[in-house]
Structure formats: C-alpha cells, structure tokens
Symmetry: C2
Subunit: 321 residues, 2 copies
C-alpha cells in the first residue's frame, strides 16, 4: 500500500487505512507527512466538539452518551481522546479498548486515543494529525476529549467549534481560581454526577461566576454559556445537553460567516502543527548526548543554564529535519 493509496483510502473513510497512517505518525515515519499534507486540504467539513474535564468527572462516559445521541440523529462520529496519562511510558491505553467495544459494531463511529507527549514534553504530533484524519475521513462530527484545562489542552480546545466543560460537585475552594480559566473556554457547562451532594451548590457557583464574568467582558451579541445538569452513568440530561450543543452550533453558524470560522480554525491548526513540529525536532536533537555534555559543563561551572539551553536551540535550528 503506497502513500497515494493510503490518502485516497482514508478519504473514502477506511478506518484501517487511518489506523495505518496514525501508526506512521506515532513512529515518526517520514512517509506520514506528505499524506497528512494532502489530507489537510480535504478538511473543514466536520463539526468539532470539544469535551474537557478532570479525571473522575465522568467525561468519558458522557462522551460515549453523546456519541449515542449523535448516532440517533444519523450523524457519523469520529472521536479522539487526548491521553496525557502515561507521559513516561508512552501510554498504553486500556480504557480505549473497553470503550471501543461499545461501538465496535458501528461503522459510523471511530474512536482513537492519542498520547499527548513525548519524553521531552509538549504535545505530540499525533494530536492535530488525528483530528485532521478524522475530518478528512468525512465524519460529520469530531469529538475531541481532553483532560483538564491546563497547558497544551487549551490549544486543542481552540480547534473546537463548541466546547463543553464537565464539572462535578465536591471540589474544594481552590477550584474557584480554575473556573476563571474555564469561563473562557466553555460554551456549555455539563454539571455531571447530579446524584452527588453539592450539585446544587456547584450550579450556584457557576451561575454567579458567569454573571460576574458577563459584567466584565461579555458583549451584547456574545453566546452566554449554558449550564446543563447530567448523570452520564444513566443518561439523565444527555439529550438536553445534546440539544444545547446544537443550539450553540446554530448560534455560531448564524453569528459568524462560515469563512470567518474556517479562517479562525485554520490559524489555530497551523499554530498547533508548528508547535508539535518544533517539539518533535527538539526531541530529535536532544536524543543525542548534547544535553548530557551540557549538563556536565553546567554543574562544573563552565557554562550557565541559559547558555547551555541556547546551545540546544542552536543545534535544533541548524539541524536538518
């Protein structure tokens, strides 16, 4: 199967071809790049839904329910779960297999997890690549599932047309600060685990933070973030959540021309790819003994940490990819 074959088979929606390409990406194969470049010119058709929540928020269960709700509407769904869980080992993903089984018989659903980082940190190439691949495959919807709102996840969330943030009761006071960041990415809050004590309190907290935030920043014609209580485990509130997502989509499509939204997304995408490329190169450069040498020079007082870091960058900038 040559590269052209792979691209055209992916454009036809063949999951095996997509899985094959993603293995090439994960392995850092130079064969992946021209295929991804080709596929990128066939993207923009999918509606991207971001679902963000801490571990333990029930986010994965909720995503599975949303996949069901979209399938019930006749939509095909590609799902990419960004998995930051095993930064050191490279991340074997048990949960993924379990989740796949639920939709294994359904050709309208394709779920894949990607590890988010290599040894030197940062987001991996696989993440924007996977979103591109699902888009090029022709899925109507892409769900991007991320953990937390720290750091690199936000760049992924920015690719989304609609962002759902999943919260659960029982968080301490130090989550308050966190919510300020959430305000800026959430189009919809899903307050999950309705059965847990403190659900009403959480709802009040989010409401008042939204009200405060609105006073400070919201313009007349902006979307006002919606709140939806859910119980992912038994499906309560999932239909209402789906309807709210569709409402946001309608609002979005009415408020900004298609062109503007595509341009905005393209900017985020290009920035994201540039960053992941940089990380990949840095990792490549740093794989040799350079950092070791520099660390020795630093601790023996022959250089400072910043001059040493500069030497790493110089090696990177002069390296062939």
């Amino acid at each position: 199967m040559n590269a052209d074959d792979l691209a055209s088979r992916i454009l036809k929606g063949e999951t095996r071809a997509a899985a094959r390409l993603m293995r090439l990406v994960d392995d850092g194969s130079p064969l992946a790049r021209p295929i991804l470049a080709e596929l990128s010119t066939h993207t923009g058709g999918a509606y991207i839904l971001g679902v963000t929540g801490n571990p333990g928020s029930g986010k994965s269960t909720l995503v599975n329910r949303l996949i069901g709700a979209l399938r019930a509407r006749g939509k095909t769904v590609g799902c990419v779960a960004i998995d930051p869980t095993s930064p050191f080992s490279g991340g074997a993903i048990l949960g993924d297999r379990v989740r796949m089984q639920q939709h294994a018989m359904d050709p309208g659903v394709f779920i894949r997890s990607v590890a988010t980082r290599g040894n030197l940190g940062g987001i991996s190439r696989s993440t924007p690549a996977m979103v591109q691949v699902l888009d090029a495959m022709g899925f109507d919807w892409i769900i991007v599932e991320t953990v937390g709102v720290g750091q690199d996840e936000v760049d992924i969330v920015r690719l989304a047309d609609t962002s759902v943030v999943v919260l659960v009761p029982g968080l301490g006071d130090d989550v308050q600060a966190d919510k300020a960041g959430l305000m800026e990415i959430a189009d919809i809050f899903a307050l999950n685990k309705k059965d847990v004590a403190g659900h009403a309190r959480l709802q009040r907290e989010i409401r008042s933070m939204l009200a405060l935030h609105r006073q400070v920043t919201t313009e007349e014609d902006e979307w006002y973030p919606q709140i939806q209580g859910t119980q992912a485990s038994d499906g309560t509130g999932v239909e209402a959540l789906m309807e709210t997502i569709l409402e946001h989509r309608s609002w979005l499509e009415a408020s900004a021309p298609e062109e503007t939204r595509r341009r905005e997304r393209a900017r985020h995408l290009i920035g994201l790819i540039a960053r992941t490329e940089l990380h990949a190169r840095l990792q490549h450069v740093a794989a040799d003994d350079l950092i070791k040498e520099l660390a020795d020079a630093f601790i023996s007082g022959r250089t400072d940490a910043y001059a040493a870091a500069d030497q790493v960058l110089n090696a990177l900038l002069s390296s062939k990819h």
Copy 2:
C-alpha cells in the same frame, strides 16, 4: 538598580529584588536573561519538593501545612505555584494573595504563583526562572506546586527531588488510567480528605496498583512509593507526611551520589529552558500577520496545513531573538 545589583541582591535573598526580576521575566524584558544566567550558576543548594494534585484535592492547603512543618524544623521555604488557570487572560491570581497573608510576617517564606503559558500555549519562561531564582536566593527548600500530571507539568515535576501526589476519594473509574501515570512520578501519595467517604477504598486501590506496578518494573533497591492519609484542613497526618518526605530525602541521598543527582537535575533544567525559549520565540514570530496570511492561503487551497506550519517554523528559525 542595574542588572548586577539585582543579581547580587537576589543572591542575598532579597525578596523585592526577586519580585523585580520576575516582573522583567514576565514582561519578556531582555534585561532578565543575563541575570538569570548569572543566578543559574549559584543554584543546586535547595532541596526541591514537588506537590501535584488536581484542583479540589486540597493541595494548596496541604502545601501551606508543609511550609509550616518545614518552618518548625528551622528551614526556609520558597514556594512556586504553577498556575495554569487562566490561559487566555494571562492569569491574575487572587488565591496567591490570600495564601501569602498566612506567611506574610515570616521572612523565611516566599510564595509566588506563575502563569504557565502564553497565548500560543506551552509552558512560560517564568516557571524554570522562578525555581532558579528561589534556589539562588538560598532557600533551604523549594516547594513546586502543580496541577494535574498532564503535559508540561511533568517537566516541572522532574526537577523535584521528592514528588508528592495528592489524591482524594470520590474519583470515578476513569481515574484508573491516570493512576498509571501517577505511579511513575509519585514518591509519596498523600491521600487527602480522610473524612470523605471512599477514603479506605482509594487507599486499597493505590496499594494494589503499587503492588502490580512493582511486579512489573521495580528493582530491588528502588524506593517503594509510600502512602500517607492526610486531612489538610485540620493538619491531621501532615507531620507524618513530612517525616515520609524526609525519609525519601535520606534514601535519595544514600542511594545516589550528590553528583549524579545534580547532573540529572541539570539535564531536566536545560531541556526545560530550551523548550520555554522556543515557545517564547514562536510566540514572537507568530505575533505578526504571518499566520493570518498562511491561514488564508490554506483555506483558499493555495497551501496545505503542514506546508503552512513549515513556513512559520522557517520564520522562527531565521528570526533573531
């Protein structure tokens, strides 16, 4: 106050000078760099304790208790809280001021939060800089407080000599996968919120994951991660946690020569600085209209997303810093 003054005043431990330098770093001032470089040659004296936990885990309260426990032992403590909470606004940190007050009268304690990222994502320059500054100021201990274990946080955690991971009961099943990642960074688990239902179950889970993990990977002479129940709100278990941290320190100092540990830490530090520099440069390059232009070229089909990202990188690589 010139640059030399600032460096020497920071080396004397003057917090005002340190705050001044950090403002220069935050502002991206070119004046910061030579001072940081100079300070980096005066580091390595502090013992670095990493404390990682999700929002709501009570981690900040626990850190405040640990600061108290170290002060009771006559140690000075610098604390840097990595704050990923407001990626879009740049992060004003209310909680920080509240926390500062607790130790405001104590010259042996200095606490500062740093925002983790700029607009283009990734970790900010401020993070490794702040750790360096606290080290150069001569604090006996540095506590680095991070949220979660996703992504860039791990690079910070790697700077730590001892890593405490704070967990709380009541997390769902999808935290299981997460724990695999935690196994690889935690020297000690603090199971906080002892009063909450499910505490015993959480303890059992961690114990069995540790047992499983040990079978697979642990060598005879490795540190076996310890578990300590705590109730940060009233201080229960904090003394025992502090003792466990000191045990790990003793084990570390007995098991690897000082030289080896300094070398290891230097490698992480140099890699981390190189990465943050790259981000800063990328942000600088991308601040102009280049990405806009490229996004337009992409959506009109004149280029693909990967060729566009390459052009961003070329601009970066040929740019003067």
